[in-house]
């Protein structure tokens, strides 16, 4: 979930989520919190699986498995955009992602 005005989200996280999805061979569902219908879904997802706060952080990224299980993967770093960028780099080069890609997660 993201917002087009958020520099942690667009283009930074938007682009990295697409890379992640390509590597995992899964579709992307983009939830824009400025669109009421999508905000509703985003709120529900954050409430049940994400980092909940009255005014929660974006972006937040989730992975839905084939059995319906949902995992929270990533939340933006509030300190600075550069820190979120570094986190995406680390995420995309992580042991975890390599294992999931090769089906041993």
């Amino acid at each position: 979930m993201l917002a087009n005005w958020c520099p942690h989200c667009v283009p930074l996280s938007d682009r990295n989520v697409r890379t992640l999805a390509r590597r995992l061979r899964v579709p992307v569902q983009r939830l824009d919190i400025d669109r009421p219908a999508q905000l509703k879904v985003a709120d529900r997802l954050v409430r049940s699986h994400g980092d909940r706060s009255p005014d929660y952080l974006i972006p937040q990224v989730f992975l839905e498995w084939s059995d319906g299980k949902v995992d929270h993967l990533f939340t933006g770093f509030s300190e600075e955009v550069a820190r979120t960028r570094r986190a995406w780099h680390d995420f995309l080069t992580s042991d975890w992602l390599r294992r999931i890609e090769h089906g041993s997660g």
Partner: protein
Amino acid sequence: MARPSAVPPVVARALRPAHPKCYRHCERETLPHTVRTALPGELRVFACPGGVVSVASYTEWSDRDPQSRLLRELRRRALPPSLVRRWDLRAASRHGPELGRTAERFLERARPVRPIRVVYWRVYPFEVRKIQHRLFACFRHGTGSAVFYAAPFDAAPGECPRCRTGSSRLRRR
């Protein structure tokens, strides 16, 4: 469920921002000030040399959400306590893969498995009687201590209400 604990140094290092700049104030680099609390984790306040707080972040290794406990701790240090509003606290979980290989491997081996909880306190600039105000912190009240207060954008560090109260007492003697 394991008790909440401090973030291990190897993970704390991975969580650090590179060069945090003062947010919407002076663009100078902010310095992290560690503030002592009764909580098991670490509270760091990133403030510029002028005392303006860009963000405060609390980190804890825990299954539990520390937001309510942090709210109480921050209110104890804020003048007035109502300066700390629930909706200015924002939670983030760090699982490991986003923290670099060393921290990821450390967290992966750790049992029980639990995320690092980070709570950010960021107060955006706000207006009081059409004058833009910012959140300031004064660190002159002892090591590991801080007083949070709001003051106009260009206020001098001496605006701290606790410092002012102290000096007026001196004058009365």
